[in-house]
């Protein structure tokens, strides 16, 4: 009989971290992530988790401590959001550059100014080129499942890259949902202790983070490019192994009602849940619409997205972050690049929504779907970029 727990997104990630037998957690609390590390520190205090919790004075230090611990061979976790992730920015590149398989929970939140604590993807999208594997969850169950899988992906010797597991601030981080959890022994079997290839060890000194000049820097960066390519195979393998363990099937992309769809909405995270409800209603009205939700954002799953989109004629790409001054916003730019590269003539328009935690309603998503259907019929995009719900 499967064990079901009522967990918020933050608690689901924390529970997964406990089961993953993490050695070191270095973190600084920030809304809406706070509870994630608060719960972990409670586990450690109560003796439920044998780990070192390092209280640091900032997120820059949190990630620095994580890098040191990871290089020493520990399994490492941290969590952050928004300004905290921005403050970590420098260290994010060092974590990936030094090939530290750190896992980080990010409760996505808007960036200042103006100050706002609510959910949007500005934080992670602002660091999307940092060389991390980036995963977005739709609900607490996915956050739990991906956190466990994240360690296995990160620590694979073919990958050795950090992974961020993103949950929408408040919408997921603070919302209690039923989560089917695994037994501790099953997680332990799926995820044995980390076996680092190289560690910092006083008896066998190595140098990490030495200067690397124009004659070698480029080659080191190319290794990271290759590691993210390798990650495709590893993510697939880990998904299949996790499916055998849990019965829950993960992939790069989830395609909902896409089999004969003419038009689609493509989005990340919790909004996909609302979009699925709307798609179901529209299907009842005989409208052929579906939803595509990339779980994995980096490495960008081009093939899976092309496969998921199938024969649709139009797609609306929803971005919960703003790339100021760019021709399209982050996710949509990647989708358009993917379609171009695969020679697909699918009409695309971009909807920026939900900045600073503004709700996106089923009615708004319905009107986006209707516009995709209209675009599919006419073959013409009426407006390339729409800002959903902004008042004049």
């Amino acid at each position: 009989m499967a064990k079901v727990m009522g967990l918020t997104g933050n608690e689901a990630v924390a529970y997964a971290v406990k089961q993953c037998n993490v050695d070191v957690v270095a973190a600084y609390p920030i809304t809406p992530q706070t509870i994630m590390v608060e719960v972990i520190s409670q586990y450690i205090y109560d003796g439920e988790m044998d780990a070192e919790f390092i209280c640091v004075e900032s997120e820059h230090s949190a990630m620095s401590a994580c890098i040191g611990a990871s290089l020493a061979g520990a399994r490492v976790f941290t969590g952050t959001a928004s300004q905290g992730l921005a403050l970590m920015h420098e260290m994010l590149y060092i974590a990936s550059g030094l090939r530290c398989p750190i896992v980080m929970g990010v409760a996505n939140r808007a960036l200042s100014a103006p100050l706002n604590i609510h959910g949007d993807h500005s934080d992670m999208m602002g660091s999307r080129d940092c060389g991390w594997i980036q995963i977005y969850s739709e609900n607490s169950q996915e956050a739990y499942d991906w956190t466990i899988q994240a360690f296995k992906i990160a620590e694979d010797p073919r990958v050795l890259l950090p992974v961020s597991v993103n949950i929408d601030g408040f919408i997921l981080s603070h919302c209690v949902e039923n989560v089917v959890v695994l037994e501790d022994e099953d997680v332990a079997r799926f995820l044995p202790p980390r076996k680092p290839l190289i560690t910092i060890d006083p008896t066998k000194p190595i140098t990490v983070g030495a200067i690397c000049l124009p004659d070698y820097y480029f080659e080191v960066k190319f290794q990271q490019v290759q590691a993210l390519k390798e990650a495709y195979n590893v993510i697939r393998e880990v998904n299949r192994e996790y499916e055998k363990l849990s019965g829950r099937r993960y992939d790069f992309v989830e395609a909902y009602a896409m089999d004969d769809a003419e038009a689609a909405v493509l989005c990340l995270g919790s909004t996909a849940g609302t979009a699925k409800v709307v798609a179901r209603e529209l299907r009842k009205e005989g409208k052929k619409v579906g939803v595509v939700k990339p779980w994995v954002y980096r490495p960008f799953p081009e093939e899976s997205i092309i496969k998921a989109l199938g024969d649709v004629k139009a797609v609306a790409v929803l971005d919960r972050a703003c790339s100021f001054g760019a021709p399209f916003h982050a996710l949509c730019s990647d989708i358009i690049a993917t379609l171009y590269r695969h020679g697909k003539d699918i009409k695309v328009f971009n909807c920026v929504y939900g900045l600073g935690g503004r709700d996106i309603t089923p009615m708004e998503i319905r009107s986006i779907f209707e516009e995709t259907l209209e675009t599919a019929r006419s073959g013409r995009v009426r407006e390339y970029i729409k800002f959903i719900g902004v008042r004049e």
Binding site: G97, L160, I198, I206, T207, V208, C212, Y217, E219, F222
Partner: protein, 95 residues
């Protein structure tokens, strides 16, 4: 150094790690030099100010005068500047 065969991305350790200590010895920085210090050893008084000030340890102590290790000398010119008898001349490298 220019002319040495450099390894490709498959053959170097990941993450720019250096797996053996003291490997800076192998990394010869002499080709960064735009000006080469040339010592007039007849005039050198062997005061060793250059040896003290050289940031790269590229001054070689001989019995009665100094010499320069051109494998590591980056040509900063501090030695020439500090030399009290001005017996070190910075000469442009012609490559």
């Amino acid at each position: 150094m220019s002319g040495e065969k450099k390894l490709g991305w498959k053959d170097i350790p990941i993450g720019g790690y250096l797996l053996e200590p003291g490997s800076a010895m192998k990394y010869k920085t002499g080709d960064w030099r735009a000006f080469r210090p040339v010592v007039d050893q007849k005039r050198c008084v062997n005061c060793l100010l250059c040896w003290i000030y050289c940031p790269d340890g590229a001054i070689v102590r001989l019995e009665k005068y100094i010499d320069v290790n051109y494998d590591y000398c980056k040509g900063c010119g501090i030695c020439a500047n500090e030399c009290p008898v001005k017996c070190i001349l910075m000469v442009e490298e012609k490559r």
